[in-house]
Symmetry: C2
Subunit: 132 residues, 2 copies
DNA sequence: CTAGACCTTCCAGTGCACGGGAAGGTCAAG
DNA sequence: CTTGACCTTCCCGTGCACTGGAAGGTCTAG
């Protein structure tokens, strides 16, 4: 299968597939006599894995670390579990941050709606922000 | 006040202050005869405003748009309100996304904890991901 | 007089995950 | 034989918000 086919079937652009090869996420495939990349069907699964892992918030670097373990002959399960737990913790923190930010924003908007622009202090950029 | 003082007092590095000047977030200050930047105390407030606006999730570009209105002699309140509402909407979407991702992760971790690595399909990178 | 703390400009790199486009080779259809 | 779709490598650009470092000027204390 040539790179264009793989791209169409996987939904990943040819450009991106070459990039993944560069950074070691997909194996360099065989080449046709004329130098075209010639992929096995397994490449499709590899790309699906990458997309799946991306979808749950893993970076390409983390995904590479999983694949590297696998290529080492190890079962990456423990490592994957670590990554997933770590990611879940990060997400918890991030969500909490965003929610508090959201609360702050709502407060600001509420306050702003009750104000008259004429009350602006001409010496400041905007009294809505910065004195929270 | 020289840039080092301003940096210490504001908690923004000198490098960053110069960068803000480059992109139009802070006014180019007066210079001493030897060419050193010489800031008025108001610069401290400006930096505090920028940090405050950043803290509620506005980008430097958005902050610049507020400051530009102000420098135009306008009251940026309406514009700020738009930005805040827009940001709040974005936050709502982002939080919902992250929460759903968080749920997915929790599901994966739960499932993974009940599995034996020996059940790994040797032909796949990791059965934990990609067939969700 | 010199050390060192500060300042200046300018250029370049960081991290992430690609995308754009040039210059050229290959292959099948008409 | 040519057109057009495809492929190759290569290098540069994107967005965001900085950060690092080189090469040089300035100021103050000892």
């Amino acid at each position: 299968m040539r790179i264009g086919d793989l791209a169409r079937r996987s939904g990943v652009t040819a450009k991106t597939i070459r990039y993944y090869e560069d950074i070691g996420l997909v194996e360099p495939p065989a080449r046709t006599p004329s130098g075209y990349r010639d992929y096995e069907p397994a490449a499709l699964e590899r790309l699906a894995f990458i997309r799946g892992a991306q979808a749950i918030g893993l970076s390409l670097g983390e995904i590479r670390s999983i694949i590297a373990l696998r290529d080492d002959g190890q079962t990456p399960c423990g490592h994957v579990l670590d990554l997933l737990r770590h990611r879940a913790d990060e997400l918890d923190r991030r969500i909490a941050e965003l929610q508090s930010l959201r609360g702050e924003l709502r407060r600001l908007v509420d306050r702003a709606e009750g104000l008259d622009p004429a009350d602006c202090d001409p010496g400041r950029v905007c009294h809505l922000i910065g004195q929270a």
